[in-house]
C-alpha cells in the first residue's frame, strides 16, 4: 500500500510542521508577516474594486445634492468648532487643577486612521489586519478604537500592516469599569463564537449592583488601555461561582462585525 514516495511525503510534511511549530515566536511573527506579504497585490486589487462603485456613484450624483451635503457639513463643522472651544477650555481647567493637586498632566490623544484590509479566516480567532505598520509608528499593544468605542489592541506589527486582536478574542483581556456609583471593576472576556456584539464582564464584586444600560469604560488598569474608552453597555448580570463574583453581559459600543476604518491610539497615557 505504502510506496517509497508516500513515506517520503509523510516524513517531509511532518518535518516541516515540527520545524515551523518549534520556531521561536519572534521568528514566527516575522515569517507570518513575510508570507502574508504575498497577498499584498490582492489587497490593492480588492480595495480598488470596493472603491469603484463609490466612485461611479460620485460621478452620477447631482450637483444640487452635493451642494446640500457641503452645506450640512459646514454647519456640522461650525457646531464642532464651538464644541471644541468648550472642550479646550475644560481641558485647560483640568490641567490647572491637576497642577494644583500635583497630578500628572494629560496629553491629548494622538490617533492615526487605519483601514481594515482582512479578517481572520479561522472561526476560532477574532483578529483583523490593518494597513498601518512599523513605518507609520505602530508598535505592539497599542489600543485600537472607533468613534463608538474600543475595538482591541495591536498584536503584531509588520512594515506596512499590523494584526489587531479584537475585544471578543480570548487573548484580549481588558480591565473595565462600570459607570455606576460603586465604579465596579471587572475583566472583559469573550462572549461566544456566535456572539458578535456581546462580551462578558467577569470578576465584578459579588455585591455589585448593576442595571441594564449602565456604561462600561476601560479602567486604565492592566498597562495597555488608557482609562475612559467606552466599551459598551450592561445588558444583564448574574452571580457566578456560587456568588463569589458577579458576571455581566456587555453589548459592545463598536460594531466589530462591520469594521472598515479604525483609529490607532499612538500615545496611550496609562495610569
Amino acid at each position: 500500500m505504502f510506496k517509497r514516495k508516500h513515506y517520503f511525503a509523510l516524513g517531509a510534511v511532518t518535518l516541516v510542521t515540527v520545524l515551523l511549530l518549534s520556531l521561536p515566536s519572534r521568528a514566527v511573527s516575522h515569517l507570518k508577516l513575510a508570507i502574508g506579504g504575498l497577498f499584498l497585490p490582492l489587497f490593492g486589487a480588492v480595495s480598488t474594486a470596493r472603491q469603484l462603485p463609490v466612485r461611479a456613484a460620485d460621478t452620477i450624483l447631482p450637483r444640487s445634492e452635493l451642494l446640500q451635503e457641503v452645506e450640512t457639513l459646514q454647519r456640522e463643522n461650525q457646531r464642532l468648532e464651538v464644541q471644541n472651544l468648550q472642550t479646550t477650555a475644560t481641558a485647560r481647567e483640568n490641567d490647572q487643577l491637576r497642577v494644583l493637586l500635583g497630578w500628572q498632566q494629560q496629553q491629548p490623544w494622538k490617533l492615526k486612521l487605519a483601514s481594515v484590509v482582512l479578517r481572520d479566516p479561522a472561526n476560532w480567532w477574532r483578529t483583523i489586519q490593518i494597513d498601518l505598520g512599523k513605518r507609520d509608528g505602530l508598535v505592539e499593544n497599542l489600543p485600537v478604537l472607533t468613534s463608538d468605542g474600543l475595538v482591541g489592541r495591536v498584536s503584531s506589527v509588520g512594515l506596512t500592516r499590523s494584526q489587531v486582536v479584537l475585544v471578543e478574542d480570548p487573548s484580549c483581556r481588558v480591565s473595565a469599569q462600570v459607570l455606576n456609583p460603586a465604579h465596579d471593576l471587572g475583566v472583559i472576556s469573550p462572549g461566544g463564537p456566535l456572539e458578535n456584539s456581546l462580551v462578558d464582564l467577569a470578576y465584578l464584586s459579588g455585591n455589585a449592583t448593576l442595571k441594564p444600560g449602565q456604561e462600561v469604560v476601560t479602567s486604565g488598569e492592566g498597562g495597555i488601555f488608557p482609562a475612559g474608552i467606552p466599551v459598551g453597555q450592561i445588558v444583564d448580570s448574574r452571580q457566578a461561582e456560587f456568588g463569589l463574583y458577579t458576571e455581566a453581559r456587555v453589548k459592545l459600543s463598536a460594531n466589530l462585525g462591520a469594521l472598515d476604518q479604525v483609529w490607532v491610539l499612538l500615545n496611550p497615557q496609562l495610569n
Binding site: 510534511v13 504575498l38 479566516p121 494584526q163 456566535l194 462585525g257
Partner: protein, 185 residues
C-alpha cells in the same frame, strides 16, 4: 497536465485563503466562514500525485496560518491527514460521482477544523470555543460539501480547456476488416 494541474491547484488555494480573509458574506449570513482548502484537498488527493497533496497541505496551511492568529504551521497536518489516506485509497473511491464528492467534501471540511482545534488545545492555545462552535462546524461541513463538486467541475473544465485531449478512437480497425469481395476465378 500534471505540473499545470499542480500550479492551478496551488493558485486556487492561494486565492481561496485570500477570499476567506477578504470576503465576509458567509460569516455575516451563517455566523461562520467556510474553509475551501479541505475541498481542494479532496480534489488534489483524488486526481493528482502525493507530491501535489503534500505541496497543497504545506503551502495552503502556511498561507492560512499567515493570515490567521493560528500558530504558523498548525493547519498543515490536518490538511495532510485528510489528503494522505484518500490519495492512498483513491482507487476504491468512485471519484466521478457527485454524491461521493459531496460526502468526502463534508467529511474533510468537518475533520480539518476539528483536528486543527485539537492541535491548538494540545499546544496550550485558547481558541474561542463554545456551543456556537457546533453550529460553525456544521456550516463549515455543509459549505465544504457544496464546494467540492463545484471545485471538481471547475478543475475538470480547466483540464479540458488547457490540457491535451485524448485522441478519439474510431470503431474502424484495418486488421478486422471483413473482405467481402468475390474471388475471381
Amino acid at each position: 497536465m500534471n505540473v499545470l494541474q499542480t500550479i492551478l491547484i496551488l493558485a486556487a488555494a492561494f486565492l481561496a485563503v485570500f477570499a476567506e480573509a477578504a470576503f465576509q458574506l458567509p460569516r455575516q449570513c451563517f455566523g461562520a466562514q467556510v474553509d475551501l482548502l479541505p475541498a481542494l484537498m479532496i480534489y488534489a488527493a483524488l486526481n493528482t500525485s502525493i507530491v501535489t497533496v503534500s505541496l497543497l497541505a504545506a503551502l495552503g496551511g502556511l498561507w492560512f496560518d499567515a493570515l490567521s492568529a493560528n500558530p504558523l504551521g498548525i493547519s498543515i497536518l490536518p490538511l495532510f491527514a485528510v489528503g494522505f489516506p484518500i490519495c492512498l485509497r483513491r482507487d476504491l473511491i468512485l471519484r466521478d460521482l457527485p454524491f461521493a464528492q459531496v460526502i468526502l467534501g463534508a467529511a474533510a471540511s468537518a475533520l480539518v477544523p476539528a483536528l486543527t482545534v485539537l492541535l491548538l488545545l494540545t499546544g496550550g492555545q485558547q481558541p474561542l470555543l463554545g456551543w456556537g462552535s457546533f453550529w460553525q462546524w456544521l456550516v463549515m461541513a455543509a459549505g465544504g460539501a457544496v464546494a467540492t463538486p463545484v471545485i471538481f467541475a471547475l478543475f475538470d473544465w480547466c483540464q479540458h480547456a488547457l490540457g491535451y485531449q485524448p485522441q478519439t478512437e474510431t470503431s474502424f480497425r484495418p486488421d478486422r476488416e471483413i473482405r467481402r469481395d468475390r474471388k475471381l476465378n
